[in-house]
């Protein structure tokens, strides 16, 4: 779990940050301590460690819907866990506990591609 995880911020600030950054931003919405969310956290951290050990490519933020419930609604999050990946204008939504590591890797790689911008 060496990948840096930022704390939850105000949603407006996040959106502004999304637009200006060339870093691929990832937001994982979780319902803390529920089985699906816990599995998702572990799965994303494991994949990121493999893909981006120093945290230069992906900026992961984990948002607990129990404490930031309003933000989840504004960000269009219906189910937990939901992973939202944003790079420039590109956006990708993944629902589920991210069990399929190969699929997750593929999706994250594709989000890095310039075509996604």
């Amino acid at each position: 779990m060496s990948h840096p995880v930022s704390s939850s911020a105000d949603v407006a600030a996040v959106i502004v940050a999304d637009r200006g950054s060339h870093v691929t931003r990832l937001r994982l919405y979780v319902a803390r301590w529920t089985p699906n969310s816990t599995r998702a956290e572990l799965n994303i951290l494991a994949v990121l460690k493999e893909l981006d050990g120093d945290g230069s490519i992906f900026n992961l933020e984990i948002v607990d819907v129990f404490t930031h419930s309003k933000r989840a609604i504004i960000d269009g999050v219906i189910v937990t866990p939901t992973l939202i990946g944003v790079r420039g204008q590109g956006r990708m939504t993944m629902m589920g506990d991210l069990t399929d590591a190969i699929k997750l890797k593929f999706l994250l790689e594709s989000l890095r591609e310039p075509s996604a911008e």
């Binding site: 919405y29 319902a31 599995r39 419930s69 989840a72 189910v79 939901t82 629902m95 506990d97």
Partner: protein, 593 residues
């Protein structure tokens, strides 16, 4: 092991905590609160299952709108299927004045899963429910709708997970004390839908099934309460209508109410019909006029309406498949002028197309008209337009309509066409005839190459009415009823009646002449007899006089004769005395004695 009453544990002394009965919230949807005796369960889950277009969303949204408008209860509408702007637009299409509703108190939550969202394993609804908890805390909402929850559940692709999430939703509803309406698409979409519906049936405290009957030419929407924990309910499917006012449950009353009662009679517009009905139709009653096409049913209705308008009452004429202008023109031709009634605002003519809508839709429309115009008199021409065989509720709809009018104290006259299939019998309108207070039947009698109209009062509750058949005659002066002739058990009408009348008149004249002739003859005979009597009397007098004269002369003659005889005798004796003077006069003595 049997419990002991005198248990040393002391449990017998404990008092059970008071159990609250189920609380209900009125939906404000017409008819629904009546059939559920109060509405949907408060703080619990109500599931609404139905196929697409059955009215699930309308029911749910209308309930929220009504709770907000009538009870100032904030609400949340979670949509899993349709975008929020479309939901708003749909709501604005009804006459709920949705635009005036505060967005702060009616919150939409778009819970549609994005089309490009990728499923990468198991998920749950905790995120949504957490968001909804936050919204509830912010708005104070106590009512919530989950519209099209099956859309989200089906993306789980797992039966067990679906059940788990449904239970999560149910638990959240109870914890948050929200009164929830969950709409789910109907059975028949596959095994999965059936399993989901079955589970929801178990989970929900109240289960509403929206369905319908579809035939080749007709479809009727229905609502059925399949389950209602802790409450009695009407289990039969009831017809529903979705109109501009929204969802409408056409409720059937379990019992007749005490209607306003009247004793005054109002004119049918036909004087002789009023006479047959002991003064006219009873106010607040319903009358059915049945008959074949063209038997003047509409004219009798128009006549009744025109009479009502002349009295200054408001009237509503609901006509199926015939325009108002056409009715006014047709009635004018038989001397019933409805135009001034319309112009004065006393009469409202409403023309509907019978085939365009189901009977229940027409019912809701007519009920709206009754509430809008508040008429004293109502004509439905013909009510048989609502009695359609392919609609399952048509009979009940007609009954409901008359019931509705009666409860408002409206005097109703409805006409009814006879069905072709009944072979001209008077049974086709039996559904209505049983509830109508008065039933008048107008039939055609074909004879001698012509058809004439015969009017009979089949029944008239609480009214002393005539049992006589009358001929109904239409002319430029209006409607009239005339007596019919019965000859050898057959009723004569039309020209046969006219011929009979002329014949009767001719015979009467002849009889009068014959009578006078006979009288004259008798008078003459009397005079002759009197004359003869007089002559006889005179002759009698003469004869008597003659007899008298005869008697006198005879007497004279006898007297004279006697005197002469005595004289002669005396003469003879004097001569005898001269001859025999010595003989005693014995003989003379004897003659003297």
């Amino acid at each position: 092991m049997p419990r002991r009453r005198d248990s040393p544990s002391g449990s017998t002394g404990s008092v059970a905590s008071p159990v609250e009965p189920i609380q209900k919230k009125a939906t404000g949807i017409r008819g629904f609160d009546e059939i559920t005796a109060g509405g949907f369960p408060a703080g619990r889950l109500t599931a609404i299952i139905g196929s697409a277009g059955a009215g699930k969303t309308v029911f749910a949204m209308q309930t929220l709108v009504n709770r907000l408008k009538q009870h100032d209860e904030a609400c949340i509408f979670v949509t899993f299927e349709e975008p929020v702007d479309r939901m708003r637009s749909n709501a604005a299409s009804f006459d709920w004045d949705f635009g005036a509703i505060s967005e702060a108190k009616f919150r939409f939550v778009d819970a549609r899963i994005s089309d490009d969202a990728i499923v990468t394993g198991a998920f749950d609804l905790a995120g949504l429910l957490a968001g909804l908890s936050a919204l509830q805390a912010e708005t104070g909402a106590c009512n919530i709708v989950f519209d099209g929850l099956d859309m989200l559940l089906s993306s789980l692709h797992d039966e067990r997970l679906e059940r788990q999430e449904l239970m999560r939703v149910d638990a959240w509803i109870r914890e948050s004390n929200m009164s929830a309406l969950v709409t789910v698409k109907s059975f028949g979409m596959g095994d999965r839908d059936q399993i989901r519906a079955d589970f929801l049936q178990y989970l929900a405290d109240c289960l509403l099934i929206l369905g319908g009957t579809i035939t080749e030419t007709a479809s009727s929407r229905t609502l059925r309460i399949a389950k209602y924990r802790g409450s009695g309910f009407a289990a039969n499917p009831v017809p529903i209508v979705i109109s501009r006012s929204g969802f409408d449950v056409v409720m059937f009353k379990g019992a007749r109410l005490d209607y306003p009662t009247f004793t005054d009679r109002i004119s049918s517009g036909v004087t002789r019909l009023d006479a047959l009905l002991n003064g006219g139709y009873l106010r607040g009653s319903s009358t059915l006029i049945s008959g074949s096409p063209g038997t003047s049913k509409t004219s009798l209705g128009a006549s009744f309406i025109a009479a009502a308008c002349r009295r200054g009452e408001r009237a509503l004429f609901v006509s199926f498949d015939e325009s108002g202008a056409q009715i006014v023109a047709n009635m004018k031709s038989i001397g019933i002028d409805l135009k001034p009634c319309v112009e004065s605002g006393h009469l409202t003519l409403e023309s509907l197309l019978s085939s365009g809508r189901s009977p229940e839709e027409h019912f809701v429309g007519i009920r709206g008209l009754l509430e809008l115009h508040k008429p004293h008199c109502l004509v439905i021409d013909p009510i048989s337009s609502l009695l359609k065989a392919d609609y399952p509720f048509s009979g009940m709809i007609c009954e409901n309509l008359l019931d509705q009018a009666k409860s408002l104290g409206i005097t109703v006259l409805c006409t009814s066409l006879l069905d072709g299939g009944t072979g001209g019998t008077e049974l086709s309108a039996s559904q209505v005839s049983t509830i109508a207070d008065t039933w008048i039947h107008v039939s055609y009698i074909a004879r001698d190459g012509e058809r004439n109209r015969a009017l009979t009062i089949i029944k008239s509750r609480g009214t002393d009415h005539s049992n006589q058949v009358r001929e109904l005659v239409l002319s430029g002066a209006g409607i009239d009823l005339v007596d019919v002739y019965v000859v050898e058990g057959e009723v004569l009408m039309g020209s046969a009646r006219a011929q009979k009348e002329a014949e009767a008149s001719r015979i009467q004249v002849l009889e009068e002449i014959e009578g006078r002739r006979w009288s004259l003859r008798l008078e003459r005979e009397l005079s002759e007899l009197e004359a003869r009597l007089q002559a006889a009397t005179l002759e009698l007098g003469w004869k008597r006089q003659e007899v008298e004269l005869l008697s006198i002369s005879e007497k004279e003659r006898l007297e004279v004769g006697k005197a002469a005889a005595i004289q002669r005798l005396d003469l003879r004796r004097s001569s005898d005395d001269a001859i025999v003077t010595l003989k005693p006069r014995v003989g003379r003595k004897k003659r003297a004695t």
